[in-house]
């Protein structure tokens, strides 16, 4: 697989919503490159006709009954909010929507 560039890492940092300092970007580029280099080991495994395994135990068809359960009182729901107005969570203006 192609080597990871600092620019790639910057793009991933935006996707992951992380603000990295220049120093962190350097370290991250080196470390991720090293880890991905190791992970490339997987390429040698023949996985033709192997089904992916997304769950450790392969259950199916688990449902809950359609039944209304009590919701949280609003003050409890908002208790952990970093900023709220007693009715809702507040964030800097959402643009373009």
């Amino acid at each position: 697989m192609t080597a990871l560039s600092r620019n790639d890492v910057e793009k991933v940092a935006l996707l992951a919503r992380l603000q990295l300092t220049d120093a962190e970007l350097d370290t991250m580029t080196a470390q991720l490159g090293q880890i991905l280099g190791y992970v490339d080991l997987l390429a040698e495994v023949d996985t033709t006709d192997v089904e992916p395994m997304a769950h450790a135990v392969e259950l199916c068809n688990v449902f809950a009954t359609d039944q209304v359960m009590p919701s949280l009182p609003r003050e409890r729901a908002l208790a952990n909010a970093p900023r709220d107005n007693g009715r809702g969570y507040l964030v800097p203006a959402v643009l373009g929507d």
Partner: protein
């Protein structure tokens, strides 16, 4: 397929419809889905996406989605799974939406609509897929206190949505509207959604571009996605506007599909135009991932068949049959079907018993629906069984009940919960013998020479006074009969 001759292009439209399924609780938790609650009063740790919480799939939501997909003639794969669609937005508390990506619960269906250009030629509009997903919350822009904040309400977060994606098979704004009407009819008929657009239970996005001829070659304009259309009429208007806008842009720039990235535009209802919308950053990289917290669902062909059988007759087939068998108008048939299966069943029972589908339809679509509305009742609650209404109609047909008093009888049946015969008896309505009627009329003619003279002088309306007198003497007389007999006698005398 006929193309609209008035335009030098073909409009190619695909619709993406989000339908809120009529469950009591949310898709993955027990919070209520009731519309209109105070902000953030219908949330719990699960739908707030609190650390440690896990989703569990609502059985009814899946059942409703499955029923709809089958009614849309979709193929139901035996295996379907849940994926996380990842993006950051304040109304999406987990940082991902639980949806379905590469293995949706249904694919490859169609919905038949009537062609607006050729009303009796059914048009088959392909359905690419229909999948189940959770809704996001709501951001409300709040300018108070001088700072630009958005307030987030998570009541709607986690509400079950069925996303139905059509093939780009629609060729006009009008056809798009008919498609939506037909889809809504199907969904309400199945009882899977209330399809209330004002409350957001049905939301439509449209993808549209133009196909046209240029220098002997077929070319396509760049695809535009239109959002923010709040009624079917708005969808039609937005598409009409957008088609002409795209044609104008094409004439100016000659830009073709592939030469510009897909644009998203919002419909401005008041201004009657579409405007470009700011697209969300890196929206193309959703980093889908199978949701490890939810397990796959399997549906056997036998289960699908069983559901298909249980669907019964779907609205389009039912409409055709009601029109054919009952000689109803398309309009009357639609009025019945729009009210749902139970009213149709009621109508059919009345029609069968009285053997007069047309009259039965008139009664059900007019008197019955009006009373239901006034009394805020459903058809299941009406105290007049279908056979009793049929008896009422039968009594009119047999002349046992003058048409003018039928409504009176109907109201009494409803109020006192009694049969037609009982109501007729209670109102003292009885058939008046023809000879008695003639005798009564003769008596009136003899007693009113002035009226007779007026009638003979050409003032036929003067006879009206006699009808009033006749009704006073015997309330059961048929005013129509009184009128014709009196006229006849007056002319003879």
């Amino acid at each position: 397929m006929p193309e609209t001759s008035t335009h030098p292009y073909t409009t190619v439209i695909g619709l993406e419809v989000h339908v809120q399924l009529a469950t009591r609780s949310k898709l993955f938790c027990g919070c209520s889905t009731q519309f209109g609650a105070e902000p953030n009063t219908q949330t719990c740790p699960v739908c707030i996406g609190m650390p440690g919480t896990l989703p569990v799939l609502n059985r009814s939501a899946f059942a409703l989605a499955l029923k709809t997909a089958i009614a849309l003639n979709c193929h139901i794969p035996e295996f379907t799974k849940w994926d996380r669609k990842q993006y950051y937005y304040p109304d999406l508390p987990k940082g991902y939406q639980i949806s379905q990506y590469d293995l949706p619960m249904s694919v490859d269906g169609f919905l038949e609509i009537s062609d607006p250009l050729e009303p009796y030629a059914p048009l088959r509009i392909g359905i690419i897929r229909a999948h189940l997903e959770e809704d996001a919350g709501k951001s409300i822009h709040d300018e108070v206190a001088g700072r630009a904040d958005s307030e987030i309400d998570l009541n709607r977060t986690g509400t079950p949505l069925l996303e139905i994606v059509s093939e780009p098979d629609l060729r006009s704004p009008a056809a798009s509207r008919i498609f939506l009407q037909e889809l809504k009819l199907l969904l309400t008929y199945l009882g899977v959604s209330d399809c209330n657009m004002q409350e957001g239970s049905l939301r439509v996005d449209a993808n549209v571009n133009l196909h046209l001829e240029a220098n002997g070659q077929r070319v396509a304009t760049p695809i535009v996605e239109i959002k923010n259309m709040n009624s079917f009429r708005a969808v039609q208007r937005a598409l009409e506007y957008e088609a002409s806008r795209q044609y104008r842009v094409w004439q100016e720039t000659g830009q073709q599909l592939g030469q510009a990235s897909k644009q998203t535009r919002g419909w401005d209802e008041a201004a009657g135009l579409t405007r470009p919308q700011r697209s969300k950053e890196e929206s193309s990289d959703y980093r889908y991932l199978p949701d490890p917290d939810l397990v796959p669902i399997t549906t056997s062909p036998a289960q699908v068949e069983q559901i298909r059988q249980s669907l019964g007759e779907l609205p389009s087939a039912l409409r055709a049959r009601l029109v054919r068998e009952g000689n109803l108008s398309d309009y009357d048939a639609n009025v019945l079907i729009n009210q749902g299966q139970e009213l149709v069943d009621y109508y059919q029972a009345v029609a069968a018993k009285c053997n007069d589908p047309k009259t039965a339809a008139n009664w059900v679509t007019q008197e019955v629906l009006r009373e239901l509305k006034e009394r805020e009742m459903t058809i299941a609650q009406i105290p007049i069984p279908a056979e009793c209404l049929a008896d009422l109609i039968h009594a009119i047909q047999q002349g046992q009940l003058p048409g003018t008093r039928a409504r009176e009888v109907f109201t009494l049946m409803l109020n006192d919960q009694i049969t037609a015969a009982e109501a007729i008896g209670k109102l003292g309505i009885e058939q008046v013998d023809e000879s008695d009627l003639v005798a009564l009329c003769q008596e009136l003619i003899d007693a009113n020479p002035k009226i007779v003279a007026d009638v003979q002088g050409g003032k036929q309306q003067a006879i009206g006074a006699l009808i009033g007198q006749a009704k006073k003497k015997n309330p059961n007389v048929d005013p129509g009969r009184v009128r014709s007999i009196c006229l006849e006698l007056a002319m003879k005398s």
